[in-house]
Assembly symmetry: C2
Homo-oligomer: 390 residues x 2
């Protein structure tokens, strides 16, 4: 059915109508006072979303651009970078660090696992000469649906003295992340996830310690240069021509986020993730990440039951119900499917996705009690809302 | 008056309504077959716009991002780069080359002048040891309204053996640029000029010779990496999450451009520039670039007459007629104003801008024959259209 498609992938995510319509307005001049006052609000609201007193830079680039910004502004050729890798996006940090000539060491776990803080602690304690300059990590690993305990990991990095660089692309605006309180030195995110707008902008905030490392950087990227963006934020401006219409969209989306409140946003993501997981268990659909403690609040990875394939599930969901869910990535292609529930996703959307998945699995001949998934999700959502009222 | 603002600045430029509305559609998944087939058309149409058989890469970034891409994929630390500088944007090439550690030499002229091909020829002939690896230049220098003779300059660079890197941000889709025929090694452009969509995308095409230089590049940028984008174009894909909605907008705009035809687009820009220049002369408004041969087809820089200031002219145009014209940049702030006539600008828009400028200058007490500017523009437009019919 035309115009009915609904994205439940890990980005792009659904965009509110008011955001789409504001984005469709004629672009304004990026050096106008109107745009400058819009920027002033956007920059302030981003500090709130990132829970930081420091400037949040906005790059006209996708999340990978902000990742390159993070590395290229503080890492020199030959620097030692420790990359904590739990999936494709953790691996990307290692690749970018290598691309600028860093000496990269990895702590790697199997897909579906999180970093064990004890392993990092041991490695950092061994580094008595403080050779490790930077530790990179992923908060929410979208490729597997696993969340690292960034608060604990960053505290360890801070104690050691290295810089922590955190990919919060699918965590900021979805689950608690406190840049300052947790001592994160560089935290990045992207527009098409928790921020509910289309892809094309990415965000970065950095600590005073990271700015000091920048001062020692021999060849920071010109396009992503920290100093140019820091100055721009303080001038309510941008260093180069920004994606004006996406900034207008972001401004509208941030108003919506503030109205809902961060705690409510986090609670919505938490209960929706819990509802999806309960539904999968009730439907005899094996979760890729069994441990609820490390399971993502923004995306759920699921293994297909025996005899049914990931492409069958994805194409039936698309064809019969106009819902797009994601395949696995890399070695996990056709091994798992991933259902995104981040950003502009309501309880109703989750119920609609689960009931459609029930219909899909029923059609494909999976053995389960039809209706049990939806029932489990309903109970979780109800319980979470009752608790919130207490 | 609300919603009446019309941009006649050098970007963002006016955007067609159909483009805005297509851009406002819900984002589609960037790994879907629908998006892939849209990409296939976009990539083909860009080859047409750039007049090249090679792939045109699309970066989710503003024009400066594509500039960084051009340099960071072919220039190593210590390489010798010759930058031809006729204004701010020519200077930007030199800055970016310096930022990656290149040894930068400049050929610089006063604002309002173009590069004299004889000067480049002499310098390249002196370089008997072929130390110059790259020559950067600006096709249309937006800060001054001057166009370089890129065809002649690139032929010289080709004969020498160095790589030519050309900023075509405000020239591609506005005036003739033939990447292959002119032997341009790297040609870049941006979305918010001739391509008639909002800012946020930039384009780059490179020759086989430039790809060979890339192979020798020690630390190409990860986000802008040539090889990753070349592969993506051939797979009708993108390496990282693209600004999906801007791609949809670009697809619509390219359909419009093809319908109009490149020759007609170039002719429209040429006659509108000529009309603006004739009007300024008829109004006793001194042109910053007197020589018609080197004057830009996309933007016209004008000196305020004695006793009247640039801020007075700009604010009256904005307040009374909702037309935004640009100030000068850098040392030219308040010394010149710049009227953009690039992209989605019709003959009617040019007449509307000129008649509004006449009203503005009349109000501000400038001595001239009121109506003479509009009359001169009408005659130029009429003559150009008559000639086109012959």
């Amino acid at each position: 059915m035309q115009d009915k498609e609904f994205l439940m992938i890990p980005g792009p995510t659904p965009v509110p109508q008011s955001v789409l319509l504001d984005m469709a307005k004629h672009p304004m001049g990026h050096r106008s006072s109107e745009f400058s006052s819009l920027l002033s609000e956007v920059y302030n609201d981003l500090k709130w979303a990132f829970q930081t007193k420091n400037e949040v830079f906005v790059y006209t680039a996708s999340g990978t651009g902000a990742m390159e910004a993070a590395i290229s502004n503080v890492v020199n050729k030959g620097d030692k970078v420790l990359s904590l890798v739990i999936g494709n996006f953790g691996e990307r940090w290692a690749k970018i660090a290598a691309s600028v000539g860093a000496e990269v060491e990895k702590i790697q776990v199997d897909p579906g696992q999180a970093i064990n803080p004890a392993v990092l602690s041991k490695r950092l304690k061994e580094d008595v000469n403080k050779e490790i300059k930077v530790v990179t990590m992923t908060h929410n690993e979208t490729s597997t649906g696993v969340t690292n305990d960034v608060q604990t990991l960053c505290a360890m990095v801070q104690e050691h003295g290295a810089l922590s660089i955190v990919d919060g692309i699918t965590s900021v605006g979805c689950m608690p992340v406190k840049a300052d309180e947790w001592g994160i030195d560089i935290l990045i995110s992207g527009s098409q996830k928790g921020f509910m707008i289309p892809p094309g902008l990415s965000f970065l905030t950095c600590s005073e310690k990271a700015m000091k490392a920048y001062e020692q950087c021999e060849h920071p990227s010109f396009y992503f240069d920290f100093k140019a963006y820091k100055k721009a934020v303080n001038d309510n401006s941008t260093p180069y021509t920004p994606a004006v219409n996406l900034f207008v969209a972001l401004h509208t989306a941030l108003q919506m986020m503030k109205k809902e409140g961060l705690e409510n946003i986090y609670a919505r993501h938490a209960r929706n993730a819990k509802a999806v997981r309960a539904a999968m268990r009730a439907m005899n659909m094996p979760l890729f990440v069994e441990d609820d403690e490390i399971a993502s609040k923004a995306i759920t990875a699921v293994l297909p039951p025996e005899g049914i394939t990931v492409p069958q599930i994805r194409s039936t969901m698309k064809k019969d119900f106009d819902i797009v869910i994601a395949n696995g990535q890399g070695k996990l292609v056709d091994k798992i499917f991933r259902m995104g529930h981040m950003g502009f996703v309501s309880d109703r959307d989750v119920l609609s996705a689960i009931s459609s998945l029930e219909a899909t699995m029923y059609k494909l001949g999976h053995k389960f009690e039809v209706g049990a998934g939806t029932a489990a999700a309903i109970k979780v959502l109800n319980e979470a809302k009752q608790k919130a009222l207490v």
